[in-house]
């Protein structure tokens, strides 16, 4: 029995206890939390997993030290969750540790206060001798003036989300992808029906739920608006850069009051540098802008000089959903804490919004939201996610850098050709991903395969692997007719979003080669397949993926 089947049209309404809107890490955490408490759930997502901020952040498991001054409450939450997640979801985490470093010219007072502020939040920060710090991380600037070691770690948000959902689905929850909420019917202070559409097939259907949870992240206000409720939100865009090689072993934070471009987080074989904070009008159609990128590099290079000359592979950005007053000046001053809203206050009794917050505290947010759901349902089962380890699913494993080549080399099967040379993803690996997707009834597009593997995430950004993979998918009978062209268009366009701000020096040469091949020889630009479901630039959602 497949509980994941996208329901067809003309079906009677589907009944469930809780409907969760948005499969970011918060929605994923919530569906798991509720399912483990024995509550029936449906999770719907307008695109694919982690399409919003969950997929476009640093992948940093905060020690909390970043928020000691601006948001001590968050700092404490981070510290606690950091501890819990390292214990319960170790397969998603690289416990690389972290450093806070200051360079000449940084705020001396803040540096002086740092140890004490950490202590106040119970965060362990150990002073490191400057020479030792440079030995630990040779890439650090020689203008270093202070260094502290903290318990930061790197976390794979995609895998985390996937594994949360996988366990929930395993225990009976249902998950619909590419399913958008088109309307909320509110009768007598209750949402009586949630109207949904499958964006790929256009089929419409309805869900009746006892409680509806809006976990749509940056799109939370748009969802709430359909129930006639307004949530004041600020969209704060943050852009990040991915380097070609891993620059540091540890997370490196700038020891100063949180601002732009002060964190470098290792992501397997790469490093991720960010971020910025730029106010945008909508969470859709956002791009990492060139000025942001240059600003990030210049700031980052003060801490780690090689960032000025290193080769960048990709840029991406996400929108932080901040609930607060849009008129305040600096978005960084708006709390990064989460917002849990019981819409009883807006006279809709079975509607809850959970948004904001940060990756590190996703579980905690889910727990709080689940508590509220239980309270509304009038039951009181205990939360399991604070003690129950997160099981590793096989669905997410191929996003781990280096795993595919390891497996490939171990199997040493001469017929197993590499389709993606940069990240060394082989035919067998792709076939396995396709099989998994088939099992979950997901259409295997280039983009979907890219999301579930490292395909297209290396230096060529899909220039070569896209055609190799397309040819292979035809051979496998996955693609028919002109689906290959459609997929090449989508995939290359999606990759381009993260490439275009970084095109100078070698990446520009790479991009020129890509254009010479796909336009010069294949003439892709002249073969625009009409009626593609997801035109580049259209539809919502930030562009990138964290482990791009």
């Amino acid at each position: 029995m497949s509980i994941l089947n996208t329901p067809g049209s003309c079906q009677p309404p589907i009944h469930t206890q809780v409907l969760i809107i948005g499969a970011g890490v918060t929605g994923a955490g919530l569906v798991r939390d509720l399912t483990l408490r024995g509550i029936g759930c449906i999770l719907v997502e307008q695109k694919d997993l982690t399409a919003g901020a969950s997929g476009a952040n640093h992948g940093l498991l905060h020690s909390g030290a970043r928020y000691i001054k601006s948001d001590p409450a968050s700092a404490v939450e981070c510290r606690k969750e950091n501890h819990i997640l390292k214990k319960l979801a170790p397969h998603c985490i690289d416990t690389c540790g972290g450093l806070f470093v200051a360079v000449a010219g940084d705020d001396e007072k803040y540096i002086a206060d740092f140890p004490q502020l950490c202590a106040q939040s119970g965060i362990s920060a150990r002073a490191v001798d400057l020479a030792d710090a440079r030995e630990m991380e040779p890439a650090l600037s020689d203008r270093l003036i202070a260094a502290y070691a903290v318990d930061d770690a790197a976390i794979d948000p995609f895998r985390l989300t996937l594994d949360n959902i996988a366990q929930a689905v395993d225990k009976g929850a249902r998950f619909f992808r590419f399913t958008r909420v088109t309307g909320l019917t509110v009768k007598q202070s209750e949402i009586t029906a949630v109207h949904l559409v499958d964006t790929r097939t256009g089929r419409e259907y309805t869900v009746r739920a006892e409680i509806v949870v809006n976990a749509a992240g940056a799109w939370a206000d748009q969802v709430a608006a359909q129930a006639g409720i307004s949530i004041p939100m600020i969209y704060s865009k943050g852009s990040l850069l991915v380097t070609q090689s891993r620059i540091t072993r540890r997370v490196v934070n700038r020891l100063r009051l949180a601002t732009d471009a002060d964190i470098l987080v290792p992501g397997g074989t790469v490093s991720i540098l960010g971020t910025t904070s730029v106010r945008t009008e909508t969470p859709d159609n956002i791009y990492p802008e060139i000025e942001e990128i240059d600003h990030i590099i210049e700031e980052g290079a003060m801490m780690i000089p090689v960032l000025e000359t290193t080769r960048y592979i990709r840029a991406y950005c996400g929108v932080r959903p901040l609930v607060g007053d849009a008129n305040s000046g600096d978005d960084r001053k708006v709390s990064r804490g989460y917002a849990l809203i019981d819409h009883t206050r807006d006279h809709v009794d079975n509607f809850i919004t959970i948004t904001g917050g940060k990756l590190t505290t996703y579980r905690f947010m889910a727990e709080k939201a689940a508590n509220l759901v239980c309270q509304r349902l009038g039951i009181d089962p205990a939360c399991q996610t604070c003690t129950e380890p997160l099981p590793a699913s096989t669905d997410g494993q191929w996003t781990e850098p280096g795993l595919a080549p390891h497996q490939w080399m171990k199997q040493n099967d001469p017929t197993d050709l590499l389709l993606c040379e940069c990240e060394m993803v082989s035919r067998h690996t792709v076939d396995q991903i396709i099989r998994n997707m088939g099992r979950l009834n997901i259409t295997p597009t280039l983009e979907a395969i890219g999301l579930r593997s490292r395909v297209g995430k290396g230096p060529c950004q899909g220039a070569f692997c896209s055609q190799r993979l397309t040819a292979h998918l035809y051979d496998r009978g996955v693609f028919k007719k002109n689906e290959g062209i459609v997929n090449l268009h989508q995939f290359l366009s999606e990759r381009w979003r993260g490439q275009h701000p970084l095109l100078w020096d070698v990446p520009l040469i790479q991009a020129q080669l890509q254009e010479a091949m796909h336009c010069g020889l294949f003439g892709l630009e002249l073969n625009d397949p009409k009626g593609q479901p997801d035109k580049p630039g259209a539809g919502g959602g930030p562009s990138g993926r964290v482990n791009a």
Partner: protein, 579 residues
């Protein structure tokens, strides 16, 4: 009594030892072509060769070689004048001392009936020969201490040998000096030859001997009175002079005697001469007994070798003769170090800390390896590393003063080492898949090869992101690679293509590439590097990966692995021998 017993004991050991060592010349097997030879065949070959040489015209050539290379040692003179002086001094000093002094009764007296050890020219000749030996040993010592290379090669055996020689000579000289000043010996002689108690006669004789012969008497003797001295001379002339030249001729020990005068009385009292006599003959006999076992054996082996190999002719050598020559060659080495001083790969040893790269040390190591087949594997692995660095240039053979055909021994020893599983890295590396090497590499992240100095290489490309920064994934490096092209199935035969290796390194997975057969099958033609549009140093990186693998795995790993997972390679499976 002690003298006789120890003499015969020493002689016995010496003869037995010589027999033991010479039998090895026909029993040790070196090189694959000697595998099937029986000892009988080899003895036959040896005797046959000897007889043929002696009854043919070749005997004249042998005589010629004996004169030029054994007697005159012109081959050493070609190398270095000082070395020749040193060796001539040692060789002739020692030989002549043995003939004239040690074998005085059977030999010298036969040819010179009036021989007396205390008479000239024998007296000063003995000192002269002693001086020659000492001078030779001194030069040898200085050379070994002053020359950086030689000092490095000098082993305990060399120092010990020089020490032994020194001990015999110095004890002899001391003995002579003590005898010169000895009153007891004077008295014994007087008792024996004068048989006179008359103080009137003895006192002047004492005075004369005290003044002219340096004897030191317990009671002061007046040597100032010319009349008394003249009187003493008369007695001397009558009884002593026929056997005693003046000790001044003993130009080595007489000064010593003068020097020890202040303590002479004490020496006389404790009969120092007796002690020294024991020390002298015992050390000489010990040297005799030790002769077959130490460096002295070259006294026998080297001339034999020179005569056999020196008569090298163009006609082909039978396998049995070859086998005998190789075994003899191991013994004929005097460990003089000449080969190492001329070895063309010697500079490599300055950075790869493996002394067996140097031929003299390699020969010694190989001799040990051959004799103790079950010696330490680590030692054998080091020996293999040293052996395979050799370029077979043959320079060592050209310069060897002992005439050892070293180049031939190297070729044979390399084949033997290979057959025993001590192969070049590329052979054993390719026996395991790359991912198993990766696993092993992850266990040993630092240099573990014992012979590598633990310095960080000055040039390193693989661990720098800049090396791969320019790569645009175009596959040109693989496309132009002749090895990939020549492979019927690149993945099966090579594991990875050049481009894939570059990508692994970019992904910081160098360990996974170390054992890839592509790395070890690179022909170093530099096509990849030359054609790379982005200037990635592909071939240099492949070179470096092999360097790293050597640092990580070589030379002990192969056996470490054997004990763990690979079954010990049977001989049949050994890689083919090099041409």
């Amino acid at each position: 009594m002690i003298f006789t017993i120890s003499l015969y004991l020493a002689l016995g050991i010496c003869v037995a030892g010589i027999l033991f060592r010479t039998q090895r010349w026909v029993t040790l097997r070196i090189g694959p072509e000697t595998d099937t030879l029986t000892v009988g065949a080899r003895i036959t070959a040896a005797t046959g060769q000897t007889i043929r040489a002696l009854v043919s015209r070749r005997v004249f050539k042998l005589i010629g070689i004996f004169i030029t290379d054994v007697l005159l040692q012109l081959n050493i003179l070609h190398q270095s004048f000082w070395r020749w002086i040193m060796h001539i001094c040692l060789f002739y000093g020692m030989i002549l001392l043995i003939l004239m002094h040690a074998l005085d009764d059977p030999l010298t007296r036969t040819f010179f009936p009036d021989y007396e050890s205390t008479l000239n020219p024998f007296l000063w000749l003995r000192d002269l020969f002693g001086l020659m030996v000492l001078a030779g040993a001194g030069i040898a010592m200085i050379r070994r201490v002053a020359g950086h290379r030689l000092r490095q090669m000098t082993r305990a055996m060399d120092t010990f040998t020089l020490f032994f020689i020194g001990m015999v000579i110095v004890s002899g000289m001391m003995l002579e000096a003590v005898q010169i000043v000895s009153e007891p010996i004077f008295n014994e002689m007087v008792d024996e030859y004068l048989d006179e108690d008359d103080e009137e006669i003895l006192a002047p004789l004492r005075a004369y001997w005290a003044s002219q012969y340096g004897v030191v008497f317990e009671n002061p003797v007046d040597t100032d009175d010319p009349a008394v001295l003249a009187e003493g001379y008369e007695t001397h002339d009558e009884y002593c002079i026929s056997c005693h030249s003046r000790p001044v001729s003993a130009f080595m020990s007489y000064p010593v005697a003068r020097f020890i005068r202040p303590v002479a009385r004490r020496f006389n009292r404790i009969r120092m001469d007796t002690w020294l006599w024991y020390i002298h003959f015992l050390s000489a006999f010990a040297a005799l007994a030790w002769l077959p076992f130490g460096k002295f054996f070259h006294l026998i082996a080297t001339p034999v070798n020179l005569l056999i190999c020196g008569s090298r002719t163009t006609d082909t050598v039978s396998p049995a003769q070859l086998a005998n020559r190789r075994a003899l060659g191991l013994d004929a080495c005097t460990h003089c170090g000449i080969c190492s001083l001329h070895c063309k790969v010697a500079p490599i040893q300055l950075l790869i800390d493996n002394i067996t790269i140097l031929p003299s040390e390699k020969l010694a190591g190989f001799a040990r390896h051959v004799r103790h087949r079950h010696g330490s594997e680590a030692e054998a692995a080091l020996l293999a590393e040293g052996s395979f660095i050799c370029t077979d240039c043959g320079r060592c053979t050209e310069v060897c003063p002992s005439g050892i055909d070293l180049k031939d021994i190297w070729q044979a020893s390399k084949q033997d080492l290979r057959r025993q599983g001590f192969t070049e890295a590329h052979h054993w590396i390719m026996k395991k898949p790359a991912h198993e090497w990766a696993h092993l590499a992850s266990e040993r992240s630092v240099a573990s090869g014992p012979s590598f100095k633990k310095t960080f290489p000055a040039i390193h490309l693989t661990d720098r992101p800049e090396t791969f920064r320019g790569c645009i994934q175009c596959t040109i490096c693989t496309t132009v690679c002749p090895v990939v092209e020549a492979a019927d199935d690149p993945a099966r035969e090579l594991d990875l293509t050049p481009q894939q290796i570059m990508n692994l390194l970019r992904l910081q997975m160098a360990d996974d590439a170390l054992g890839a057969r592509m790395v070890w099958n690179c022909v170093t033609c530099y096509m990849c590097q030359e054609h790379c549009p982005q200037g990635v140093r592909v071939a240099d990186v492949l070179y470096e990966l092999r360097n790293i693998a050597y640092r990580r795995f070589y030379p002990d790993t192969v056996h470490h692995l054997d004990s763990q997972s690979i079954s010990h390679r049977p001989k049949e499976e050994a890689p083919e021998a090099a041409p």
